[in-house]
């Protein structure tokens, strides 16, 4: 699996947790628990903690769905002062797999996360192609004018 760019070199001062699991739905609860725990320890508000947990759930479920059999799912959590960034990636079963963004699942991700994007990496130098999702979540509403109806 090719190193994603953010893992080349240093961890850039962020508090980083990297987890590799089999790309199996059964392991998603473990990953979402890590996300919720990091957010709670970073003193995110309860809405943001829950949003991040559900977003990681959704990201992992989406990727596990397209992952090649018995391939890994890699999740990198970076805790920064004003946000948590999550990068998740798998090796897709088919090389030309794309994560579609016109689904309800994608709308869920857009609602739950502050930023979310698909990251496709072509296979280079004999490494397999990867498909991934990156999202960023901030600690919560700043003031009461931030979001909401």
């Amino acid at each position: 699996m090719s190193e994603p760019p953010h893992l080349n070199g240093s961890f850039d001062g962020a508090s980083t947790v990297e987890v590799r699991t089999s790309a199996s739905a059964a392991l998603i609860p473990t990953l979402r628990m890590i996300a919720a725990d990091l957010a709670a320890r970073a003193d995110f508000d309860l809405d943001a903690i829950s949003d991040l947990r559900m977003a990681v759930d959704e990201v992992c479920a989406t990727l596990v769905d397209v992952a090649a059999p018995s391939s890994p799912l890699r999740c990198v959590f970076q805790v920064r002062p004003e946000r948590i960034q999550v990068d998740a990636e798998v090796q897709p079963a088919q090389a030309d797999t794309v994560v579609s963004t016109d689904t309800f699942g994608w709308r869920v991700l857009q609602t739950l996360a502050d930023e979310v994007e698909v990251r496709h990496e072509a296979g280079i130098d004999g490494n397999r192609a990867t498909v991934g999702i990156r999202l960023n979540k901030r600690p919560g509403m700043f003031g009461s004018d931030g979001q909401g109806r």
């Binding site: 919720a36 309860l46 809405d47 829950s50 759930d57 016109d102 919560g140 909401g148 109806r149």
Partner: protein, 259 residues
């Protein structure tokens, strides 16, 4: 003589027999089975009274049946009480205990359950004051406990499988504006060009779950705002949303074309 007495009167001599039978007697098991089967409608009736609290009826009947078996085993006819006045509280107690203890998917120490209740108790107050969901540090300050304990309590809430406890803690007031808000969210759903057939799948959800999903993902409301409008706790909204998204995922095949 009440109808219940007549209906079950043939079992009364069996209760006497069972109470006095030698524990090693081979006929004991058959006698017990006969009593359990005979009184089963009582357990089923009690279980049904607890439905609509977030637990499946099958599970409730099972728990009530355990209560019934306990009642049959412990009943002492020589004390002169009739079986019903002993069995009904025993069975009801068993079901209540189920809601209190077995709603947790793993064994969670009493202290953590109490912590969950305390945290839940201050969250909505704080949200009202702050105009947003509170942070663990703010909950800790309000309860006068260390942040580490709040984190522990929040983690324990994750282990809480059923919504029954939160259900009981919720005021369930509902708000007059909810209908209006759902209407706006519905217009947004209409506007969103989804290639999935979302509407029929949403229609399969229970009304409250559907409403919460609509308000969160099409009404652009936060969990705390939804909790306030619907009259349940933020943690309950969080749990319902998580469960509902899981269900929607299994129902929405990404390859399903638009109808």
């Amino acid at each position: 003589m009440t109808r219940a007495d007549t209906e079950y009167s043939h079992l009364v001599p069996l209760l006497d027999q069972y109470a006095n039978i030698d524990p090693t007697d081979p006929r004991r098991e058959a006698l017990r089975a006969k009593l359990v089967t005979g009184y089963l409608p009582v357990a089923q009736h009690i279980a049904r009274r607890f439905v609509n609290r977030g637990e499946p009826l099958d599970d409730l009947v099972q728990v009530a049946t355990v209560g019934l078996i306990n009642a049959i085993d412990r009943f002492a006819p020589e004390r002169g009480n009739d079986f019903f006045s002993f069995a009904v509280p025993t069975i009801t107690g068993e079901v209540r205990r189920h809601f209190r203890d077995l709603g947790w998917s793993m064994r969670v120490p009493r202290r953590l359950k109490d912590l969950h209740v305390s945290i839940n108790g201050v969250v909505s107050d704080l949200a009202q004051q702050l105009g947003r969901a509170p942070k663990p540090s703010e909950i800790a300050a309000r309860l006068g406990i260390p942040v580490s304990e709040v984190l522990e309590g929040l983690e324990a809430s994750e282990a809480y499988r059923s919504s029954s406890l939160d259900e009981m803690l919720s005021s369930e007031k509902g708000s007059a504006t909810v209908g209006e808000l759902v209407g706006e969210a519905d217009a947004e759903l209409e506007r969103v060009d989804s290639r999935q057939a979302l509407r029929p799948v949403l229609a399969e959800l229970a009304p409250r779950e559907r409403m919460i999903v609509m308000l969160r993902f099409f009404g652009n409301m936060t969990q705390t705002q939804i909790a306030d409008e619907v009259g349940i706790s933020q943690m309950h909204v969080s749990r319902l949303l998580t469960q509902t998204l899981e269900r929607l995922r299994t129902r929405l095949d990404p390859e399903t074309p638009v109808i």
